[in-house]
């Protein structure tokens, strides 16, 4: 095998240049970082749009979402952020766009139970849905 041309310390020049450059490091968490607009983070549920078809529950690969009927055309949604894999399939499956995905990613919790979030149904006193 032919021995390649060697050059010990080839990187010296390159790394010394870095001394005079700003580091590539971002100042997170002291400065908030903006995720791309379509980044898949925490889910949001708009209870007034839900029709209770359960397509999201059916298609969820991680059993993270539950829809409960709490009254006439009123649905409550439990999402376990500790189970959700943030794939967004439920958003795609929903025929009424009742679910949306937000770029929020800072979801860490000390307490496991705090990862279970509930989106309550709108109060029945509010005017019954138009249309």
């Amino acid at each position: 095998m032919k021995k390649p041309f060697v050059h010990p310390g080839k990187m010296i020049e390159f790394v010394l240049q870095s001394l005079f450059k700003k580091p590539a490091t971002v100042n997170y968490p002291f400065e908030k970082m903006k995720m791309p607009e379509h980044f898949r983070g925490k889910l949001n549920f708009m209870a007034d749009k839900c029709i209770g078809c359960m397509m999201c529950v059916k298609d969820c690969p991680a059993k993270a979402i539950q829809i409960k009927k709490v009254g006439e055309k009123r649905f409550e949604c439990d999402i376990d952020l500790g189970k959700c894999v943030y794939c967004g399939q439920c958003v795609d499956s929903c025929p009424r766009k009742a679910l949306e995905i937000t770029p929020e990613f800072e979801l860490a919790q000390i307490d496991r139970d705090k990862l279970k979030i509930v989106f309550h149904a709108p109060e029945p006193t509010t005017e019954p849905k138009a249309q």
Partner: protein, 312 residues
């Protein structure tokens, strides 16, 4: 009383610890900046040290308790004592006698031996392999280091560091003769401190942390401190032997100059560890004996010739 102060506070243990912790920070920060990242804050080595002191000590059941505990303490003691014989500024160390150079070299070998003992008596597989590698490596870099330091000593015709300083102070520019040996010294120091490309005894991806795999808490803190101090003492030794210029300056400026020399050497070591990959143990030994040792002997030859025909 003054002697005790000198030994324990300035420029002894306390001062040395502070400089060593700062040197570790300097090394890590520079390493990080060379890698285009921010790196640790200035207090990081101190925080690491205090945290480790406050942690639980776990001693493996199979380990030899006494040797396991003693090894880090030995290492720490040896390097601190070695420091007392190295002149920092001016021409005089805290203590000196006519053979102190040999004692210093000897004391600087002890940390490596304690790495071996600590690793060996951990009785863990990774520690054992790390320990054996430490010793194998010792034979590779130690002889070139001795020979390299022999060269300037020969020129000065003394075995005392302080007397060497006097000689080079009397003959400025003579230190330029020893530059080749200085290079050898730097390479050997890399091996002594077990740094990339010679970090084979603690190669993380092969044997976890080598000799230190089983150490935790206080004992690990001592070992880390010993290595930090060894870095400063090693750099001081190289500075005293190979860079003896500006010795007649007033104390404060002389002290600053000394620090500049030491940190310059540490910076070079940091640069080395940034740009090289780790060698294998066989490659390392081969490199040291094929290249480093002959170069050191070349320096001896040069100095002999100069001594016989030029300097007298």
């Amino acid at each position: 009383m003054m002697a005790l102060f000198k030994m324990l506070v300035f420029p002894g243990l306390l001062f040395l610890s502070a400089v060593s912790l700062f040197a570790e920070f300097f090394d890590r920060k520079l390493y990080a900046r060379l890698q285009n990242r921010v790196g640790p804050p200035w207090f990081q080595p101190l925080a690491d040290f205090i945290k480790l002191l406050g942690k639980e000590d776990v001693v493996p059941e199979e380990a030899d308790r006494r040797m396991f505990d003693l090894a880090p303490v030995f290492a720490l003691t040896a390097v601190v004592v070695a420091f007392l014989y190295i002149p920092m500024w001016g021409t005089h160390a805290i203590y000196s006698f006519s053979g102190d150079l040999i004692v210093v070299l000897y004391l600087l070998t002890i940390p490596t031996l304690t790495f071996f003992l600590g690793g060996w008596y951990s009785r863990s597989l990774f520690s054992t392999i790390g320990a054996v590698r430490s010793i194998t490596q010792l034979f590779a870099y130690e002889i070139p280091l001795f020979v390299a330091i022999l060269a300037p000593a020969m020129l000065a015709n003394t075995w005392s560091l302080s007397e060497m300083a006097v000689f080079y102070h009397a003959h400025p520019y003579y230190w330029l003769i020893n530059l080749i040996a200085f290079g050898v010294g730097l390479v050997s120091l890399l091996g002594k401190l077990e740094r990339v490309p010679f970090d084979i005894p603690e190669a993380e991806t092969e044997i976890v942390a080598g000799s230190f795999t089983e150490y935790s808490g206080r004992l690990l803190a001592y070992f880390r401190m010993a290595i930090d101090i060894e870095a400063v003492v090693g750099a001081s030794l190289l500075a005293a032997v190979f860079l003896p210029f500006g010795l007649g300056l007033p104390p404060v400026i002389g002290f600053v100059l000394y620090l500049v020399k030491v940190f310059a050497i540490i910076a070079v070591l940091a640069l080395f560890r940034t740009v090289f990959a780790r060698l294998r143990i066989d490659q390392m030994v081969e490199f040291c004996w094929k290249w480093v040792a002959p170069i050191a002997f070349l320096q001896i030859l040069i100095n002999l010739v100069l001594k016989v025909f030029v300097i007298r």
